[in-house]
């Protein structure tokens, strides 16, 4: 295992793993906020199951991150005892749920990115990364089937559902560019054969997004403007509020177990 750490600097691998783990954790927690509030029972169950998959994936990524860091922090310490500026998730994942349509649009835009990412990671030179990617990839492929299906049904649905889906797309679009903005960490990971370069995933993502949005009769926003900062810990104010709730128990009762 230690030999694999040496393909890139330990800090680089740790940071990269936090991006994967935090994006899964933050999105998973956001989706779980629907539990008990969905429009119909079946969707409530489905959203809770998607959240469960994502939180399971977060545990695998953060567990490995803690192991790589080597400072005795595990998945729980990383999830519950870091503040917002230490989180490395995409800004898109932390955006509020909005209505049901906006939640599904956010899910679709991220699923369409995660599928090619995890597929490429299956051939990572680090077998621990490849194993997590193979496991998570199967689940995320199913999530994409579901989110794409609902984006199409709601986009090409009633006048009202169409209006809401277009509004959701317009609101979230400027958060998608961050997923493809390669930085020094991405480059180092790509050069070591550990992960694909983030920018290389854009073509496949765009192909999926364009095809589905077209079928959904939705109009792709033209602007390329991208909000940045999630990967360096500069988050929107929404993350702090989310963490206040998610981390409450461990902050108020440190080390609590049951």
């Amino acid at each position: 295992m230690t030999s694999k750490d040496k393909l890139v600097a330990r800090d680089t691998l740790f940071e990269w793993l936090l991006r994967r783990g935090d994006t899964a954790l933050v999105l998973g927690h956001r989706v779980s906020e629907w539990c008990g509030h969905s429009p119909v029972l079946e969707e409530d169950i489905a959203l809770a199951n998607v959240a469960l998959d994502l939180i399971g994936q977060a545990r695998m990524w953060l567990g490995l991150a803690g192991e790589v860091e080597g400072k005795g922090r595990g998945e729980n310490e990383l999830a519950y005892l870091r503040d917002a500026w230490d989180f490395r998730n995409f800004l898109l994942a932390e955006q509020p749920n909005g209505d049901f349509g906006q939640t599904l649009m956010r899910q679709f835009l991220i699923d369409a990115y995660q599928v090619p990412l995890l597929e490429a990671l299956k051939s990572s030179k680090d077998e621990r990364i490849a194993a997590i990617a193979a496991k998570a990839g199967k689940e995320v492929a199913y999530h994409l089937d579901r989110s794409a299906d609902l984006v199409i049904r709601l986009g090409d649905g009633t006048e009202e559902s169409h209006r809401r889906m277009q509004q959701a797309l317009d609101a979230l679009w400027s958060y998608t560019g961050e997923m493809f903005a390669s930085d020094a960490i991405d480059t180092a990971m790509a050069e070591a054969g550990l992960a694909p370069d983030a920018a290389s995933l854009k073509a496949e993502w765009k192909e999926t997004v364009e095809a589905v949005l077209d079928e959904a009769t939705l109009t792709l926003p033209e602007s390329d403007f991208a909000h940045m900062g999630g990967l360096t810990g500069r988050h929107s104010e929404h993350l702090g509020h989310m963490l206040a709730e998610m981390q409450f128990l461990q902050r108020a009762y440190p080390g609590a177990t049951w």
Binding site: E42, I45, E119, A136, K138, D149, I152, A211
Partner: protein, 166 residues
Amino acid sequence: MDTVWQWLSEIPDPEIPVLSLTDLGVIRDVSWQDDTLVVTVTPTYSGCPATAVINLDIETKLLECGVTKVRLQQQLSPPWTTDWLTQEGRAKLRAYGIAPPVDGTRSDSSAAGRLARLTGQGSFQVACPRCGSENTEKVSQFGSTPCKAAYRCRSCLEPFDYFKCH
């Protein structure tokens, strides 16, 4: 070792008790390391809450059977697939009222075919486990556990669970 596998085949899945853990295919290996019995388990879905219960059940069963030292280890790769669900397990599922997986219909993560599936009707028929009719419809992609989807039979009008191909 056959005896150990026999014991393991007597442990029911905590959420679908008609299946045993060996039917489900989650036990990947059993071996002795010195005086410790090491059981290698793979999770079905990353976040499946039954995973912890499965581990506890294995440990409890083996200790009851007289094994004194048991160690459980998790193996992620290769990832669990419903291809490992035994034929016997599939028959048990159907008899229990859960439609077994339709092989070859898992969500493929490779680019080829994805667009056609996402934008078209890449649907397949699931036979009703009660009346056998193929005139059924999907109600939701997820059912009462991560491994199932919710369906309804248009012939006998009964709702049923479908064990997804994964």
